[in-house]
Amino acid sequence: MSKRYLIRRLLLVVPVLLGTILIVFALVFLTPGDPVARLAGNKPLAPSTYNEIRAQYHLDQPFVEQYLYYLDGLIHGDLGATFTGRDVSSIIRERFPVTLKLTLGAFAIEVVLGLILAVVAAVKRRTLLDSAILVFTLFMITVPVIVLGFVLQYVFGVKLHWLPVAGIQDGAASYILPSLTLGLGLAASLGRLARSNVLDNMQGEHIRAAIARGLPRRRVVGRHVLKNSLVPIVTILGLDFAYLMGGAVITETIFNLPGLGFSLIQGIKTQNGPMVVGLVTLSAIIFVFTNLFVDLLCARIDPRISYE
């Protein structure tokens, strides 16, 4: 991998992000409705109030100018404000840690559980344990997040009182159930994929050669098989990480977590342009950079991968 390649990749980020922002901006702009009038429900907002608020948010300007205003603000680090007057950047700052913690929790479960399931199933392939893991993972992948979330919440929160039901007031404990809700499905998905990957690599000639050299099986699986299976796994993990950081809308709603995903839903429902654009842009940025990171990581893992 050359430095030039890295620079080129970074430069490519710019048009992609501009395009993303433009698309999201257009979508929000095109959405019919009047976010300002909505502030007062069906009570008549005073015309002076109404016009003043619209002017404050450049809503009285044509689309292109609104877009340019937004880009101008963005360059200066200003993500705009919500129609209730709060800075989008401060909302993001406030909610980012919530989503980050949730993501890290879910991600940890995905990585640890997913890889354990994969390796165990692969090593014990075609045994009862393998079949059990396959059935379990299939179930975890298919069960809707809504259902899993509610069931976990009800069983461990309401019935057993082991863990908090909702909110983030109980610190780390608050994140356990939501992380499980997200992480179990991802772990199962990763587990299935990684299992076939690990199996495939276990049949590789170099693994047979390593065994033939008398290396302990545990080490062969743990070092050689795993590292060889890592490229597709890391790729999936990267996508999942970006997806999680985009905000797990449903999970955050179920568990009352004030994170990015919930803000986005609120933003969309209240037609809060700056908030929606800010959040989607953020998730696109995270996505693009996670992808880049994953590519770099893959090249480190497998020296055969090279970028021009």
């Binding site: 000639e205 033939a212 008398g214 302990p216 590292k227 020296p303 055969r304």
Partner: protein
């Protein structure tokens, strides 16, 4: 012959699949003396590779199972060992050399990583010591500027160099027996000779014994003391290399010999063995070679010929061994 280093006795390996049971190795026996090179010759699917993997117990189970026989390393039947003891045998007593060095080397670790890992784990020495030994080994197998190669990834090496690395790893623990499974078939012709020469010199210098698995009769004749010919999982002929080459006693061996181009007879068309290798799922009754055999008679269709002594140290499994002509 002195006490054999490795004795393979009536080895049976089956593949159990949904399609049926395949007898991939069906009663193979031979003895390997100290410092001896035995070539196991056969087409792909003849069971020559499977038998070697069975000896080292590195078959994929399932679907492959060792269903009978013994593999005696000295006084020890390898098939009686538990997995931990067997691991001690691998590499240190019996090593294996693989066909394609690029697939047999782990692509995501450097050459150095892999050799040092082997030495550290099996010799119990420090990384620093292992590194020094690794350099020594690479030098020993004739790799120029070994320091640089240690840092190289397998895909950065040529086939010849990579196979030399594999040789280095195979002999790193001073094994008694080297199972070389088609060690040159993936290499360029010019390199093949070099690697074969290296193997020959190693056997000479270390008194190591070697089973050379190959489909190439010329390779076998050039290097081996004795040749064992396998067909459809069975040993059909076993004898001194010169004898098998000069006076084959099995029609299959004879057919193989005829298919080698001979400089003296360049005017003739090269005869191929007619017919195709048997489908082991439903092998023919009697001698498995009978559909392709020009000497086949009724008896060949009903009963498998036993492996009989036909000359000094020369065995053949053919009712018509005395009719066979080169």
């Amino acid at each position: 012959m002195s006490d054999p280093v490795l004795t393979v006795d009536d080895l049976h390996v089956e593949f159990r699949t949904e399609d049926g049971v395949v007898k991939a190795v069906d009663g193979v026996s031979y003895e390997l003396g100290k410092g001896e090179i035995l070539a196991v010759l056969g087409e792909s699917g003849s069971g020559k590779t499977v038998h070697a993997r069975a000896v080292l117990r590195i078959l994929d189970m399932p679907p492959a199972y060792i269903t009978g026989g013994r593999a005696m390393l000295g006084d020890v039947n390898l098939f009686d060992l538990d997995e931990a003891d067997m691991r001690e045998v691998r590499g240190a007593r019996i090593a294996m050399l693989f066909q394609d060095p690029h697939t047999a080397l782990d692509p995501v670790y450097t050459v150095g990583d892999q050799i040092i890992e082997l030495l550290r784990l099996r010799r119990g020495i420090s990384t620093r010591e292992a590194r020094a030994q690794a350099l020594e080994l690479l030098q020993w197998v004739g790799i120029p500027s070994p320091e640089g190669r240690l840092k190289a990834y397998p895909h950065q090496l040529s086939g010849g160099i990579a196979q030399r690395v594999m040789v280095a790893m195979a002999i790193a623990l001073d094994p008694d027996v080297l199972l070389a499974d088609e060690p040159t078939s993936s290499l360029d012709v010019t390199v093949q000779a070099q690697v074969l020469e290296l193997l020959g010199s190693i056997v000479k210098r270390t008194e190591m014994s070697m089973v050379l698995i190959t489909h190439n009769l010329a390779v076998a004749v050039g290097l081996a003391d004795r040749i064992a010919v396998m067909y459809a999982g069975q040993l059909v002929e076993l004898g001194p290399a010169k004898a098998v080459y000069g006076d084959p006693k099995h029609p299959y061996s004879a057919a193989l010999l005829r298919s080698i181009p001979d400089i003296q007879r360049r005017d003739e068309r090269l005869p191929a063995i007619t017919g195709s290798p048997p489908n082991l799922l439903n092998a023919p009754d009697g001698c498995p070679f009978n559909p392709r055999c020009p000497y086949a008679t009724d008896v060949c269709l009903t009963a498998m010929p036993p492996l009989e002594q036909v000359a000094d140290d020369h065995l053949s499994a053919c009712y018509h061994w005395d009719e066979v002509e080169r």
